[in-house]
Symmetry: C2
Subunit: 350 residues, 2 copies
């Protein structure tokens, strides 16, 4: 029998993380009798007087939100990172190493209404979010080495508030994931004189089997090494270091592709699709003075759903202790996403 | 203000994984209005004629289970890894690397009854499980480089069947996690002429602040670099490479400490405590002929619950994209576990 990547178990290499994912396509055939998720709450009021993220409401710490009409940015009332924190002593023992962690955590509401999500916002409204992201990266990037923009969407992704929002955690240190990507991209760049993800996207544009959507400036694809069932990556077609480097037209086309991709995600299981997403670009702070040309800006989406709105993939036992494992192949996921309509299922009958 | 590790955010180094965890003790103060888990099913019948893991029942593939009275081992009906799988061609492109993955997936039922869990089994019954683990590691270790013994317990840990059981995934390759631990332990051994975890345990026995339980042969502790709220590690006091190397008395004392630790876990939130756990020891297969003295056998427990039986820690956005983050400190977790009774809450009123 000859090897068929759509049918036979194999390992795929992730050059960004320098590790492997186990792909087991035949596992899709097994029955599922395990945990079933509660479907996401669908009847969220447009304004909830008790929701601390809504315009005009009072937050737990007594601060009152303005009557904002677009986005709204503020410092998290319970930040994991603090701007001023006492510094631990240097430890002499290599088994008990401790390091200072300074930073700030912010929250950005995308929209004044709670009953709306990014894919159902207008292109102008999405563009405003993108401009804000760029602004935040510039502002916090002056002081901090890493500005992590991310959105946890849906209760099963630990999102504690249904109001559309993202978070920004900026830190004095380079976290684990970007540390690895900094190294792998640099090693590739030294070897090939070209950024890894720029080369990668060019190749995927030729191969086509993992592409889901593209426009003038952007490619949305399922990476060859994707771990989560419908994990995707959004990458510019040209070499861009940081989100603030996007031109006016690249921002417009980003709003356009984001609206389409998030609509496809929601249409997959006809549910507001849960995920964690975030942006990775060249580090900031003191890294701004270093050569970061090996970096390519990209967004990643990590959605947990596998079979339906209520059956997710669990990254547990084997995944935690050994190696990440996926069931359907990246090519199968890309094919499914490609074939979905670009009109949101909730807007279909309008 | 001087630095207080129980109050101020900081990073801790994990020398086994060569990465960092962000510790934010002050985050325990924030309110939680997010997702609430369904409490675990508590009224499981002792024998369910429809459960494919019970004695005498027919599994989905038509095979009939024996009327087993102790443990029961069989090959997973829907294995992620296959003993014979076609081998992919070597890829020339470093961005599209693919590797063969051969292996086998087995399931071991711990007990004929569905309404029992490890902490409520007798010491003899637990000892039988330990002996089986050792046997399996020897058997599969002849052929495979890595034998991952693991238990996913509880529906929120992706466990699809309430009958007490564990899984064994053995593979022709060394998975990601053991690959890293192989390297870090070897580097430490070359530098210090002593295994990392043997040194580590000696130091923890002196420091005491992260110890939960110990007996003649074993130490149960919350590692300095723990990620999950009540993550723990179970380590022998002497240098042991693989689970089959445990002596008769070390196996008895393992049964003893396992019963106590799992009872404490259940008592923490008065619920059958969900977790993923597994064993890591020196690799097998062709590694048996190599010097693996840098390895020390250990079990890890990764439990997701944070505040109660229904409020868990989510490893999402920041954790997936940047760095693992924990709320309460390892020392606070150890203190809580230490103070819990060693009699199971369900047996209290007997
Ligand atoms: O084989 P099970 O118990 O049904 O499956 C569970 O454990 C596996 C190994 O950790 C995971 O890959 C699955 O996502 C999880 O649901
Ligand atoms: O701040 P939130 O949204 O309440 O919290 C959520 O995102 C954080 C950052 O990824 C995680 O640490 C939390 O576990 C999760 O529940």
């Amino acid at each position: 029998m000859s090897f068929d990547s759509q049918d036979h178990p194999h390992l795929r290499y992730n050059p960004l993380k320098d590790d492997w994912v186990l792909v087991c396509p035949h596992r899709m055939k097994r029955p599922w009798a395990g945990h079933v998720e509660k479907p996401e709450e669908e009847d969220i009021p447009s304004h909830d007087p008790k929701n601390p993220l809504c315009p005009g409401n009072t937050r737990p710490n007594g601060k009152v939100n303005p009557d904002y009409e677009s986005t709204f940015l503020f410092t998290n009332d319970f930040p994991a990172l603090l701007e001023e924190a006492p510094v631990p002593d240097q430890s002499e023992d290599e088994l008990f190493q401790c390091k200072e962690a300074k930073g700030t955590c912010q929250v950005m509401c995308f929209h004044p209404r709670s009953d709306i999500t990014l894919p159902r916002m207008t292109l102008d409204e999405i563009r405003t979010v993108i401009d804000k992201w760029a602004e935040i990266n510039v502002d916090l990037g002056k002081k901090y080495s890493w500005v992590q923009l991310f959105e946890n969407r849906g209760a099963i992704m630990g999102c504690s508030n249904p109001h559309p929002h993202c978070q920004i955690w900026a830190s004095s240190f380079l976290p684990n994931e970007p540390t690895v990507k900094h190294r792998t991209q640099r090693e590739y760049y030294i070897k090939h004189k070209s950024p890894m993800l720029v080369d990668y996207v060019k190749k995927e544009l030729n191969k086509k089997e993992r592409l889901v959507l593209e426009n003038e400036d952007w490619v949305w694809l399922v990476p060859y090494w994707a771990v989560w069932p419908y994990e995707t990556m959004l990458v510019p077609k040209t070499h861009i270091l940081r989100i603030e480097d996007l031109t006016d037209s690249q921002r417009n086309s980003l709003a356009d592709i984001m609206k389409k991709l998030l609509t496809k995600y929601d249409n997959l299981f006809q549910v507001s699709f849960p995920y964690s997403m975030g942006w990775h670009g060249a580090p900031t702070g003191s890294y701004m003075e270093e050569d970061c040309n090996h970096w390519q800006l990209h967004a990643v989406y990590y959605p947990p759903l596998l079979r339906s709105a209520t059956v997710r993939k669990f990254m547990v036992g084997y995944e935690m202790l050994a190696t990440q494992q996926r069931d359907l192949t990246p090519e199968q996921a890309a094919e499914k996403l490609k074939n979905l309509p670009e009109i949101h299922y909730k807007d279909e009958n309008k």
